[in-house]
């Protein structure tokens, strides 16, 4: 960068700045909105709030069942993540280390499932969930989220497991390990980065999922954050200040996780796509 002419350097910085504004500008505006008192919401200028207030944040928790909705989202996303990791790591162990026919087919089907439109099978799923009497429960969402996050889990874990040489498994067997011992004493600890990558992505996707959550929940008993935000109640018009506050509460933890784990997340996203 030292070799650059001042013109080149400043235009690079300008483009960098423009990219940052493009990405975070809308979010910053949402934060600004959440701090404006109601009277100022319909005024432009001023751009920044003249009397910043936390009223909207108080309202969201006091007048809305927002805490319950956050708990629902946390529980659904956590159970989904746990199930995906348990089921996915067993399957990926076989896919990466064991010798059998049909690996390509299984990974191919998993990829196809992750690409098809969820709305296309929501009608049978609705009938299944109704038949199991699971409507408006966490389990309806846990079931559907686990199904649709499992393919991603399989791809990420298999690609991480494959990087651990299979000879370790052979050596463990010679030392008298059962396959299962080799799995949880050797493979799992060695692939902790892969497991956390998968966990972060599955958790975030479940946290964000909307279509199934909208279809299978009817009350606050199981409603998750995206549905809560989409159906944000307003008597005459949308209460933009309260909604901005609710949005900020929901996205700040996600942004925090992203900043901390960005390397892991990028690794997970590129695991299948770029390596081929």
């Amino acid at each position: 960068m030292m070799r650059w002419s001042p013109f080149k350097k400043s235009s690079f910085l300008f483009l960098l700045f423009a990219t940052v504004i493009f990405c975070v500008g809308p979010i910053v505006w949402q934060i600004v909105t959440s701090l404006k008192p109601d009277a100022e919401l319909t005024l432009l200028p001023p751009i920044l709030p003249e009397k910043p207030t936390l009223d909207h944040y108080v309202t969201v928790f006091r007048e809305q069942p927002f805490s319950k909705i956050i708990v629902n989202s946390l529980v659904v996303a956590s159970i989904t993540t746990l199930l995906c990791l348990m089921i996915g790591s067993l399957a990926s162990f076989a896919l990466a280390w064991l010798d059998f026919k049909g690996k390509g087919v299984i990974l191919g089907i998993a990829l196809a499932i992750s690409m098809f439109p969820p709305v296309a099978i929501v009608s049978p799923l609705y009938l299944i969930i109704q038949a199991l009497d699971l409507r408006d429960t966490w389990w309806a969402l846990v079931m559907t989220h686990t199904t649709f996050q499992l393919p991603l889990t399989l791809w990420i874990l298999t690609s991480f497991f494959q990087e651990i040489p299979g000879e370790i498994y052979k050596a463990a067997q010679i030392d008298g390990c059962t396959p299962f011992q080799a799995f949880y004493k050797i493979l799992l600890p060695l692939s902790a980065p892969g497991l956390s990558t998968a966990a972060i992505l599955v958790f975030i996707f479940s946290w964000n999922e909307f279509l199934f959550a909208l279809t299978f929940t009817t009350t606050e008993a199981s409603r998750t954050i995206p549905v809560g935000i989409a159906l944000f109640p307003g008597v005459h018009e949308v209460p933009y200040g309260d909604m901005a506050a609710a949005s900020v509460i929901v996205i700040l933890p996600v942004i925090l996780v992203t900043l901390i784990f960005q390397r892991r997340i990028v690794e997970g996203l590129t695991a299948g796509a770029v390596k081929g």
Binding site: C23, P26, I27, V119, S123, T146, T147, F148, Y240, V274
Partner: protein, 295 residues
Amino acid sequence: MKSTDARLSYLLLAPALFILGSMALFPILVVIWLSLQRRLPIFNIATFVGVENYHFLVLDARFWNSLVNTLYFTTVSVVLELILGLAIAILLNRPFVARGWMRATLLIPWIIPTVVSARMWEWLYNVEFGILNYLLIIMGLSKEPLNWLGSPSWAIHAAIFMEVWKTTPFAAILFMAGLQTIPTELYHAARVDGATSWVVFRRITLPLLRPVILLVLLFRTLDAFRVFDAVYVLTGGGPANTTETLSIYTYKTLFQTLQFGYGSTLAVAMFGCVILISLVYLKLLGREYWRELAR
């Protein structure tokens, strides 16, 4: 040894296969079966009507409208994402101090819930109090406030713009990963030979990045084609169905008018489109890999 491996494998795979089979593959068969019925769950009506729903589908102007909307939305947003994403990736593909932070920043629009983004953009697009109109007017780019979400010609573009905002960074991140696989010696050699930036881009970057570009295109096309959350929350399909995509029409048919039969027919039609799109891309990708192998 091999047979014990295989037996163990199937045991380990059983839970995953059971879930995918019962909750993803089996429903596909059911949806085809449902599409051949007149089915209204609340009235307990379920009669087999054969291909009658498909006959209706072909004549259903609203279906064709939603298909055109979806294709327009998909094509325009994917093309924009590709161009912008590549530009951002090339911009960031050099060492500088805050590169990690920059990459994290790129992840943010993509990782926050789509519903939240839609609500956020709804507020940005607000006719009277939205910051977007305010900025356009004070910068002199527009004389009067634009009715982003209310006018039939603007609404779909407003939705596309939001989609581009949300997914361009994702494309950029995959392109950045792809760019890193290109050996820097190639660039140095080209510079020594006196190639201009444009020639370097055309002759080195683009051809070597082709497989990654095709993969990103495939993922993004299928993803944009099934768009639901973003548009459903932003416009609800309006005004006058100008932003109604296939997903939204299917969803409304299933859960607002409660026609499980015809709704499932729409779902099958969506499947058909997705398979068609995938086949086209797989053919392109396949040829690409074949050429790679032949080399």
